[in-house]
């Protein structure tokens, strides 16, 4: 019946990318994962900078950024493999390249792209995007940071309270109200601010429960002089941030699946070798069936992520909904999987310094970042309900 379209296989090029990144990360990134988990210090900041530099030099930071548009399938494949080696490194790389670099690639002028993008992709400089504030998370419209013009310059004032990469950041994209009258939709802009800009203050490092290797701090804007507005004109910040967050669901899915796969692989090995009452524990259904559930969740999460990426690459009508589904499913799957892995390792996974203990903490991030599960459900439900209004 007709010519056939459907094909779930990764292309040869995507498979090759996957293999190359995996091999590289096992050798270069994995060994530092436990060290990075120690949390903020000059040493770990330097290690993270080094990781980004290594990934950049090997050409892997720019996965998905080679063409005119962002290829989210390549982004997904790379994200999953970097995460399997070290989730913190992926989140830091993603903040620099996908979030900061992505905004530049999608909305920057040609000059802005050629000025800032290459050094981010090479890992020579580190990017950060500052939008969240104490009183404004998902509800971006509630931000209090403002920008006003003074002569030819934009002057920013406000506090961004948790900004990934801020302690090691060279380039900041900062969301602020330019026009209180325009409301959120038309009144915000994203500003490009360099590290040494006057009035830019980086707060003390913030410690987190998981992804402890990701440098994090507040960014204080005290009459901070911005370089320029992202893109041509003011007033587009809200939609720019919304767009990158919507595409970002694919990256969070790759993070969640990467963590899920690590948990599953380690738990499977453990179930094969660990004995209880004269049998490998994997031969007990309570263990074996957990492994099966882990496999099922990872497999479905992965398909949803790649499906959403494909939909976004091809501008499908419901692409953003598929992205929300993928993030919601995979991030909730990751915490369940990490919990099951901990259960299988028991005391040997509860001990500080073990991989499972770290992954268990890392897994939580997906459910709460960039639109927590509650928000994803609201977005998905509204879309379905409105079809029958």
């Amino acid at each position: 019946m007709g010519v056939y379209n459907m094909d779930y296989e990764l292309t040869e090029g995507q498979k090759k990318l996957q293999q190359n990144i995996a091999a590289f990360c096992i050798k270069e990134i994995l060994p530092g994962a436990q060290k990075l988990d120690e949390g903020p210090s000059e040493e770990t900041f330097a290690l993270m900078r080094g990781n980004l530099k290594k990934l950049g030099e090997a050409g892997f930071l720019s996965a998905g950024f080679d063409g005119d548009a962002i290829d989210l399938i390549d982004c997904f494949v790379a994200g999953e493999e970097i995460t399997k080696a070290c989730a913190s490194t992926y989140v830091s790389a993603r903040a620099s390249v996908f979030m900061c670099g992505g905004l530049l690639k999608l909305f920057g002028t040609k000059e802005q792209q050629s000025r800032y993008l290459p050094s981010l992709l090479k890992g020579d400089r580190v990017g950060a995007v500052a939008y969240t504030e104490r009183e404004a998370g998902t509800d971006i419209a509630s931000i209090a940071t403002t920008a006003h013009q003074d002569g030819g310059r934009w002057i920013l004032n406000g506090v961004k309270d948790i900004v990934g990469n801020a302690p090691i950041g060279d380039l900041f994209l900062i969301l602020a109200y330019t026009d209180g009258e325009g409301g959120s939709e038309k009144g915000m802009s994203v500003f490009i601010v360099e590290k040494d800009a006057k009035g830019l203050g980086i707060g003390d490092p913030i410690e987190t429960m998981g992804l402890r290797g990701m440098p994090l701090s507040a960014v204080n804007l005290d009459d901070c002089e911005a370089q320029e507005i992202l893109g041509q004109k003011p007033g587009e910040g809200f939609s720019q941030i919304q767009r990158i967050l919507s595409m970002g669901t694919v990256g969070i899915t790759s993070l969640s699946v990467g963590i899920g796969l690590s948990c599953m692989e380690k738990a499977t090995q453990h179930a094969k070798s660990r004995k209880a009452f004269g049998r490998n524990i994997g031969s007990y259904q309570e263990v074996g069936f957990k492994l099966a559930d882990m496999y099922t969740y990872n497999d479905l999460g992965r398909m949803l992520g790649i499906r959403a990426a494909w939909a976004m690459n091809n501008d499908e009508h419901e692409a953003h909904i598929l992205g929300a589904c993928a993030k919601l499913f995979s991030s909730e799957a990751a915490t369940k999987i990490a919990n099951m892995a901990m259960q299988i390792f028991a005391g040997h996974g509860y001990t500080k310094g073990t991989d499972i203990e770290r992954l268990y903490r890392d897994a939580k991030f997906g459910e709460i970042c960039e639109g927590p599960s509650e928000i994803q459900r609201t977005i998905i439900a509204k879309n379905e309900l409105d079809k029958f209004l």
Partner: protein
């Protein structure tokens, strides 16, 4: 990589959906309440050419690929056709006719497939026994060679379509010592002396499929009715698994899509506390979870179907993932649909009640969810 359907596949799905909605779904509530096989619904499926969907045109079929077969099941479920009628359709087409088409001699194909594709005959398949469910290889039905005939003795149970079927593909062992390798498939026609069926069971759901035991008492079957050769039965039974875990699951996916449509409409129309219940987050949560389930299950089903179309060996992990997820979560979502409808959802005149009962089967039939997990964990631990 490509997730799109061809234009032809899309058109076909739309046509089947509309037809199911207009011609079949209105008959389903009453048929389900009667709780028996509906020849009227069956005739409608036949009129649409759905009984012979995967078979070549020269055998009276439509030559559809596996994805298209899944689309038909999905579209009919989505249109509101009951799970029982679709189970009957699945067992007839994919478990009986497909096995004859895939493993039969030219003569067997020509004799049976056109009859099954045209609604002249109804087919069924007999594998499960009272003492052999998931552990099918422990079957006790025997076939003993006597001249150019085999004498079958034993019984099968939970056989979908048995009370209405004209022909059965049945599995028996020629030598229990040989275990899997002794299992052999036979084509047995209704009216063969020694072959009888029991009274239809009263089931929890999928009521418009008729299910009963079948009995073989010194039932003589000519040698030429062996399907696929002596000892090939286990292979044939396993091949049925591919259909079980794609085409036979697709109506359950469709039913979830139907449930989501019903719930979304109801949540907009139903007012409590002066506002439509869609505004309550507990309702939104269920709607969102249904949508996620549908998208994930769709990917899992069509991955199995398209890989079969693309000539790949069935990946048992992918098939099991599909079955366990569609089965377990499909029922959970059907339960959430009942919850959204509240008291109305508990009433038989609301289709979410029927879907709830029907969907329970997906985690049981064709390999239980427990067996799926067993398969996955065994492969992982190899």
């Amino acid at each position: 990589m490509d997730f799109t359907l061809t234009d032809e596949q899309k058109m076909f799905r739309d046509t089947v959906y509309r037809y199911g909605k207009e011609e079949i779904a209105p008959l389903c509530e009453e048929a389900d309440l009667r709780g028996e096989f509906s020849f009227e619904i069956w005739g409608k499926l036949a009129d649409m050419g759905l009984l012979g969907l995967p078979f070549p045109e020269e055998l009276g079929g439509s030559g559809a690929d596996v994805v298209t077969c899944c689309l038909a099941g999905e579209a009919l479920g989505h249109a509101g056709v009951d799970g029982g009628s679709l189970l009957a359709w699945g067992a007839h087409t994919y478990l009986c006719a497909s096995n004859i088409y895939n493993f039969g001699t030219d003569e067997q194909k020509r004799k049976y497939v056109p009859k099954l594709a045209s609604n002249e005959w109804i087919g069924c398949m007999g594998l499960t026994e009272p003492g052999a469910g998931s552990d099918a290889a422990s079957m006790r039905t025997t076939a003993v060679k006597k001249g150019d005939r085999y004498i079958l003795n034993g019984s099968k149970t939970f056989i979908t379509n048995a009370p209405v079927a004209d022909v059965i593909v049945v599995f028996a062992t020629i030598d229990r010592e040989k275990k899997h390798e002794g299992i052999t498939a036979f084509i047995v026609e209704k009216g063969t002396p020694g072959f009888s069926t029991g009274k239809p069971f009263h089931k929890m759901g999928c009521k418009c499929s008729s299910t009963s035991e079948v009995f073989f008492e010194d039932c003589e079957v000519p040698e030429e009715n062996i399907l696929g050769g002596v000892g090939a039965g286990w292979l044939i039974a396993l091949s049925g698994v591919e259909w079980d875990r794609s085409t036979l699951i697709s109506p359950f996916l469709g039913s979830s899509m139907y449930g989501l449509d019903l719930c979304a409409r109801y949540a907009n129309e139903r007012y409590q506390f002066n506002r439509p219940i869609r505004e309550f987050q507990a309702i939104q949560r269920r709607i969102a979870d249904m949508k996620v389930f549908i998208e994930a299950a769709k990917l899992a089903i069509y991955r199995v179907a398209s890989s079969k179309d693309n000539g790949q060996m069935l990946n048992p992990l992918q098939a099991a993932v599909n079955k366990v997820y569609a089965g377990d979560m499909g029922f959970a979502m059907a339960s959430e649909a009942v919850q959204i409808f509240g008291g109305y959802g508990f009433m038989q005149e609301y289709p979410v009640e029927r879907s709830f009962r029907d969907s329970r089967l997906a985690a049981i039939g064709g390999g239980t969810s427990d067996i799926m997990r067993m398969i996955v964990s065994r492969i992982m631990l190899m």
